[in-house]
């Protein structure tokens, strides 16, 4: 990996109570050669921050839990201040494989796009409720926002620093994923998609049916009123 590229690339991992998984995620990412791995501890009640630091990550800690959207914003703002040119957003629960990171960056450079979205293959490993929810939300996004994204709720994304300034979201929770897409559509940013592997540790973690309804309402809200 190009040393210069590594310095410009920041991996942002918003985390809440991920003591169990964060160490492994950070170690695997650092082993790939990325030195700017930033874990944003969103007011965790366990040892997420300490575990991440011991694994070699830089850390930022919110004194209170603000939500994933806020934690991601904190990480991205910090990275931009420190000179990041490319930002990778990934989850701290071990769902995303760090070895996919180089593919994000390669796709961004080869296709010369502002953003790269990771999409999860819809197979039997994905919980049924999630499969239906993802399908419905993707169709809704295409019709309402006019942008076709296969997996609108995947948190594994790659963003150019200049593009981040345009898509910077107001949402503090999971709605950020949809708001990011809405802002990308509004600014007509160029994007690409790559398939990613996902590991589901906990079927009951993440978005529920009620979250799905909220996401659908947010798609309409972001289209009509912005963030």
């Amino acid at each position: 990996m190009n040393k210069k590229t590594g310095e410009d690339v920041w991996i942002i991992i918003p985390s809440y109570n991920e003591q169990k998984n964060i160490g492994s995620v950070v170690k695997k990412t650092i082993q790939l050669g990325y030195k700017n791995v930033l874990v944003v501890d969103d007011g965790s009640k366990d040892l997420t921050k300490k575990t991440a630091e011991n694994a070699g990550a830089k850390t930022i800690r919110h004194k209170i839990n603000l939500g994933k959207g806020s934690a991601a914003k904190t990480g991205c703002d910090y990275a931009i201040n420190k000179g990041a040119k490319i930002i990778i957003l990934m989850d701290g629960d071990g769902q995303h494989k760090p070895k996919d990171i180089p593919r994000f960056i390669k796709t961004m450079k080869e296709k010369n796009v502002d953003m790269v979205f990771g999409y999860r293959q819809i197979d039997n490993n994905m919980p049924g409720v999630m499969r239906f929810g993802n399908f419905f939300i993707s169709i809704s996004t295409k019709i309402i926002q006019g942008i076709k994204i296969r997996d609108t709720q995947s948190g594994f994304r790659c963003i150019k620093a200049e593009a981040y300034k345009k898509i910077r979201w107001q949402s503090t929770d999971y709605s950020m994923e949809s708001e990011m897409i809405s802002n990308a559509a509004k600014h007509k940013l160029k994007y690409a998609e790559i398939e990613i592997q996902t590991i589901y540790h906990d079927k009951f973690k993440g978005t529920t049916i009620f979250d799905g309804i909220k996401i659908f309402i947010n798609i309409i809200r972001f289209k009509l009123f912005g963030g």
Binding site: K58, T59, I60, K63, I64, L66, K73, T74, D77, Y78
Partner: protein, 119 residues
């Protein structure tokens, strides 16, 4: 002769005047807020005690019963209050988020500088 509902309304307005004054004395808000809320409760007291004061408005709005007028007016008033509180809450949330973020940047830079100095 006052109707039962009028007596209830007057007791309610008097109770709110008292509570509003007590919380002012406990320094929960300033004189301006006290004046505003006292105006609201006193206006409520006057309208309930002397409903004839709103007959002109009721006629213009084609509302027949005084109780209906109070329900509609009350609903509109509280809708405005709720909207105002929504705006305040959004602003407060944003300020809180900005504050937590600034604080976390400060702590992170402090920690990183310490590590650099140790090396």
């Amino acid at each position: 002769m006052l109707a039962g509902v009028q007596i209830l309304g007057i007791l309610f307005a008097l109770s709110m005047i008292y509570i509003t004054y007590v919380y002012y004395r406990r320094k929960n808000y300033n004189l301006r807020s006290l004046a505003l809320w006292m105006a609201v409760w006193i206006a409520t007291l006057v309208l309930i005690s002397v409903p004839q004061t709103v007959y002109g408005v009721m006629q213009a709005l084609q509302i027949e019963r005084t109780a209906d007028f109070f329900v509609v007016a009350g609903f509109a008033f509280f809708a405005v209050i709720i909207f105002y509180m929504y705006i305040i809450l959004k602003k407060t949330n944003q300020k809180l988020e900005d504050l937590v973020r600034q604080s976390s940047f400060y702590e992170a830079d402090k920690t990183n500088n310490k590590k650099k100095n140790k090396k």
